[in-house]
């Protein structure tokens, strides 16, 4: 079997055996987005205006929540060492782990977003753009986040440090992702936003596994 | 030279707070930072000197 797919299968299987870890991030996403209307007030015009930003920031934080565990368990029980010494290229295994992280953490957010968008009075076409933007953006969040997770592996205060390292790098994804939905609501063309998100995704898909691999080798030394 | 008096200079045409607030902050931080760097250097040197002194004392009393 292809080592990349084998890694994905392994991580998904592990997550299914321990469902709570996956569900935590999803619940977090649902609760945080639902808190905003309670804090701001139920006025539909205002909610509609801030919806893209809120859903995106919540997706960003929910992704961040799962990141410290991306490599930690494999690091603790020695599986990461075995991966580094495997005849398969470590970059491929790392790419598999990132893909699994997206399937378990990013994809549920993408699927839930249209439902949560209803709370903010978004119409069907805006919900469609939101889902599409998240579909392009959440893999980007997983890819960039993996670099941070690898850099902070086994480091004091890793979780907070991870947020400090990763959040500034998430800003372009946030701007174009939320911007696409805002532009659509304002009646503007969203092609530019989405193609820039796609371009960043391609760039990150090339570089992030490589940088993550380098960081993991440093962490294992 | 377009300042008529010292007071005129410090008033900065009504922008005193902003101009001196900016230049002052730069001055303060750019004095403090080198002092901190300097302090770090002298502290390492002091520690190393004390360590060496302790080694020498050990040597003299023959406990090393």
């Amino acid at each position: 079997m292809n080592p990349l797919l084998a890694t994905v299968r392994r991580d998904v299987l592990l997550a299914l055996r321990r469902k709570s870890e996956v569900l935590t991030a999803v619940f977090f996403f649902v609760i945080v987005t639902s808190l905003f209307p309670l804090g701001i007030g139920p006025e539909p015009v205002l909610l509609k205006k801030i919806a893209p930003g809120i859903l995106w920031v919540a997706a960003l934080l929910a992704t961040l929540l799962g990141l410290p565990r991306l490599f930690a368990a494999d690091h603790l029980d020695g599986t990461l060492e075995q991966m580094a010494l495997s005849p398969s290229p470590l970059g491929l295994l790392v790419a598999g782990k990132i893909l699994a992280h997206w399937l378990l953490c990013g994809l549920p957010l993408v699927l839930l977003a249209p439902v949560l968008g209803l709370q903010f009075d978004l119409d069907a076409s805006a919900l469609g753009i939101l889902t599409l933007a998240l579909l392009l953006g959440t893999p980007l969040l997983s890819l960039i986040g993996a670099i941070g997770a690898a850099l902070t592996l086994g480091v004091r205060g890793g979780g907070v440090l991870l947020a400090l390292l990763v959040l500034p790098l998430y800003i372009p994804a946030l701007i174009f992702g939320a911007g696409a939905v805002e532009a659509h609501i304002a009646g503007l063309d969203v092609g530019g936003h989405l193609s820039l998100l796609a371009a960043m995704l391609v760039l990150a898909a090339f570089f992030a596994p490589w940088a993550t691999t380098a960081a993991l080798r440093v962490a294992l030394e | 030279m377009h300042w008529n008096s010292v007071g005129d200079f410090f008033a900065m045409g009504g922008y005193a707070l902003y101009v001196w607030g900016s230049f002052g902050a730069c001055l303060v931080l750019m004095v403090v930072e080198p002092l901190l760097a300097r302090k770090r250097l002298t502290e390492v040197r002091d520690t190393l000197a004390r360590e060496r002194l302790a080694d020498e004392l050990d040597h003299q009393s023959g406990t090393s």
């Binding site: 299987l13 029980d77 020695g78 060492e81 075995q82 030394e221 | -």
Partner: protein, 199 residues
């Protein structure tokens, strides 16, 4: 085939060892000895390429290690269990080999687990196994892939008497088939012959 020359390693400011030289040919094994903290584990990690050496060179089949070929020929088992508690021994074994790019059919996996005395426990979650049994799940990996060089760090620890004897037999068999092994241990090992390296 394995040639190590002038290897040196320091941890922080402390020099652990320097000028370590040895070579291994087919059917030979090396016993790395030394007190706690002498750098046995560091040497093993250096040897397999997990951490960089301060100086020295490791050559495998004449080429500088670590290379992909070296990794294909290598199995390294360290202190860690490297076993997932939520999976069964069978799943653990098959997924671990799949990561190495090797497909292990169920029958060979079951055979390997049986050889290590885990018969009947193949489909229990590893969580409910004893420490010794977990260790056996890890050791089953030795039988899943035709690797020439086994690097085993403290592999005989946490094993009961039966397992120690079994591992000794496995290593002897491996050497008999032209394999090589590098082992660390405090205790005398139940494997005949072997070179010794004292750190």
């Amino acid at each position: 085939m394995l040639k190590v020359s002038g290897l040196a390693c320091s941890r922080g400011e402390r020099r652990l060892f320097s000028d370590v030289d040895f070579s291994l040919g087919t059917g030979e094994w090396l016993h790395v000895q030394g007190a706690n903290g002498a750098g046995k584990t560091s040497l093993m990690r250096l040897l397999v390429g997990l951490s960089p050496a301060d100086a020295g060179e490791i050559r495998w089949r004449g080429e500088t290690a670590p290379s992909t070929e070296f990794r294909r020929d290598l199995i390294y088992l360290g202190h860690h269990a490297a076993v997932k508690e939520d999976l069964t021994p069978l799943e653990n074994l098959r997924l671990a080999t799949a990561l190495d790019g090797v497909t292990l059919n169920e029958r060979s996996a079951l055979a390997a687990l049986m050889r290590l005395g885990l018969r009947g426990r193949e489909n229990l979650p590893v969580r409910v196994l004893s420490a010794g049994q977990k260790r056996r799940v890890l050791l089953a990996r030795l039988l899943t892939r035709p690797a020439v060089l086994w690097v085993l760090d403290e592999a005989f620890n946490a094993l009961d008497v039966g397992a120690v004897k079994l591992l000794g037999e496995l290593i002897a068999e491996h050497l008999g088939n032209g394999g090589m092994a590098v082992l660390t241990s405090h205790q005398p090992l139940p494997v005949p012959g072997g070179k010794a390296l004292v750190l």
